[in-house]
Amino acid sequence: MTELAVVIESLVKKFEDVTAVDGISLQVSKGELFGLLGPNGAGKTTIINVLCGLIKPTNGSAKVGGYDVQKETAKVKELIGVCPQETAIYPYLTGVENVELFGNLHAMNKATLKKRCDMLLENMGLAGDAKRRAEKYSGGMKRRLSLVLALIHDPKIAFLDEPTVAMDPQSRHAVWDFIKELKKEDKTTILTTHYMEEAEELCDRVGIIDHGKLIALGAPEDLISKNKVKNLEEVFIKLTGRKIREEI
């Protein structure tokens, strides 16, 4: 039987009179690279925030690594690495200082931290700029550094919220390669994106969300063949009657 890394059951999240997540249920297996697709405001980030324990669901439940995200938040935080949608780094620290800070917050030992820090900065193409203050980085470099902060402690489960948004093609492909490496290392990854080509390139399975509801779930090639279209973009058009990026 496949081991489940993430289990979401009838999840509802309301913000006053707005229903951001409307009764979503899904499961993600260990080692799976799962994509949450949908336009801006669909509810993808809200789902990630619930899974991290940042916000409480209005109804339903969620488990990460077998731990309830509401009752065992501390355990969940030890398992996960999160790259938030906004580029959250300390501008006055250098690249390496940012990474070391987050390594220390995860209580990593000095030797392991140094090793992972060097490796990740190298893989992300930031080694040469590691000692420059992050405020001097380009937008793409900041996004890549943000991804390194999320993964410095070698988490079992990674939540990557729009990790390539507003990135130049070169940076985007570097991140894609990096995400593929995670897959090889048997890490579970939940990736949110509104780039359909990104999901097709990377994900084992995708869940398409619109207005807080899960409107499609399956492997990209299955969804494409089932709907008799050429790509995921057309799957979304067929299911919703509009283009995914119209609302961006």
Binding site: G53, L54, T87, A88, L101, N104, L105, A107
Partner: protein
């Protein structure tokens, strides 16, 4: 609680303080520049007495006794006054309006006559010829308007009340009660408040820092790590206590260079620094309350003055020159007790174990811990840590 996390966050906060020019200025350079400017203006560098330039227009028509000359000699011999004699009132008034002198005194034509009448019958006022001495003062100088009239008054009393004895012995003027040459300078009075003052601006720094980290997503990012609220808040409090300690040290060095030399031992200095450290807790607390109310870092800057100004005006050196009502109101702000304790220690010569000082310490400790607790609870309730 993991010390590794606390130290990492503390180190990060220290780097921010040193690397962000605006923070560096507000926390360290501003108090140093302020102390220098204030000390130089009111304290007198090196603890010297201030000297007032005073212009004299002598209209006196001396008869047998040249009383105006005695007055001029006495005024000149007073170290606190720098006398400049003018030939006419117009020139003197011009210089007064230009700020070249802080006062102009007109010796009337009947001054010697009046002086002679007094000498003839010192105990019979009905026999005196009254003379009016006009004194014009620089209205732009608070110090001049308050300091010069009593000095002149005392000199007039001296040359008349104590007669020839004073005029023939100028040294009596220097050391007599006429001019308080032994009194502490203004810097001595304000120095305790300066220690308190420096730390008050931490309120703004804390508020800005929390609001900024919230805006740029760093607070959320830290919450996703296993860092506990206790570890996070401990790192923040530790950071700002270190900053307060550095501030107090810088301010102390500055006031020392400006001439502040309290006659106290090391235990008093150590106690003073402990007071400042405890006081910094309330500033972190007020900063957190401000960050709770403020929606953005910009708003946090403005709102922080809700707490900065009362602490500043009611509890530091500024409070000493306010109304009695304001001084009573000061008793509701922690800075009042810090300044009061430091004043007792540095100026009144109280020991660290004296009841007044211990009472102040108790008031500071209780209020600061309470304010910090309120700040943490409020911030945690509305924004999570």
């Amino acid at each position: 609680m993991k010390l590794q996390r606390v130290l990492a966050l503390t180190k990060k906060e220290m780097k921010k303080t040193v690397r962000e020019p605006a923070v560096l200025f507000m926390i360290f350079l501003f108090p140093v520049v302020f102390v220098f400017a204030f000390g130089a203006s009111f304290g007198g560098v090196g603890g010297e007495q201030p000297v007032y330039n005073i212009g004299i227009v002598n209209m006196d028509q001396a008869t047998s006794v040249n009383a105006s000359q005695i007055l001029l000699t006495t005024l000149s011999d007073t170290e606190i006054l720098n006398v400049q004699v003018y030939a006419d009132n117009q020139t003197a008034q011009n210089d007064l309006s230009q700020g070249r002198v802080q006062g102009v005194m007109i010796i009337p034509s009947d001054f010697s006559q009046s002086f002679a009448s007094y000498q003839t019958a010192p105990n019979d006022p009905s026999m005196w010829t009254n003379a009016t001495i006009a004194l014009y003062l620089d209205k732009g100088s608070l110090v001049a308007t308050q300091a010069i009239p009593p000095i002149i008054q005392q000199i007039l009393i001296a040359i008349t009340g104590q007669g020839q004895q004073v005029a023939s012995n100028p040294f009596r003027l220097e050391t007599a009660s006429l001019v308080e040459v032994e009194a502490p300078s203004a810097l001595d009075f304000i120095a305790p408040g300066m220690f308190t003052f420096a730390s008050i601006f931490l309120i703004m720094m804390v508020a800005q820092s929390f609001a900024q980290d919230r805006e740029n997503g760093m607070m959320k990012r830290i919450r996703i790590t296993p860092t506990t609220p206790t570890e996070f808040m401990t790192s923040q409090v530790l950071s700002y206590m270190v900053i307060a300690l550095v501030q107090a040290t810088l301010v102390f060095i500055m006031v020392y260079l400006m001439g502040f030399r309290p006659n106290v031992g090391m235990p008093v200095y150590a106690f003073a620094f402990i007071l400042v450290l405890v006081f910094s807790l309330s500033n972190v607390g007020f900063g957190l309350i401000t960050a709770t109310i403020a929606k953005s870092s910009g708003a946090a800057t403005g709102l922080s003055f809700l707490f900065v100004l009362p602490q500043l005006f009611l509890g530091t050196f500024v409070g000493a020159s306010l109304s009695s009502a304001a001084q009573v109101a000061g008793k509701f702000v922690p800075s009042y007790y810090v300044t009061d304790a430091l004043t007792s220690l540095f100026l009144r010569g109280a020991s660290v174990t004296s009841p007044a000082v211990l009472l102040d310490l108790a008031a500071v400790s209780v209020s600061c811990v309470a304010i910090l607790a309120i700040g943490i609870i409020l911030y945690g309730k509305y924004y999570k840590i």
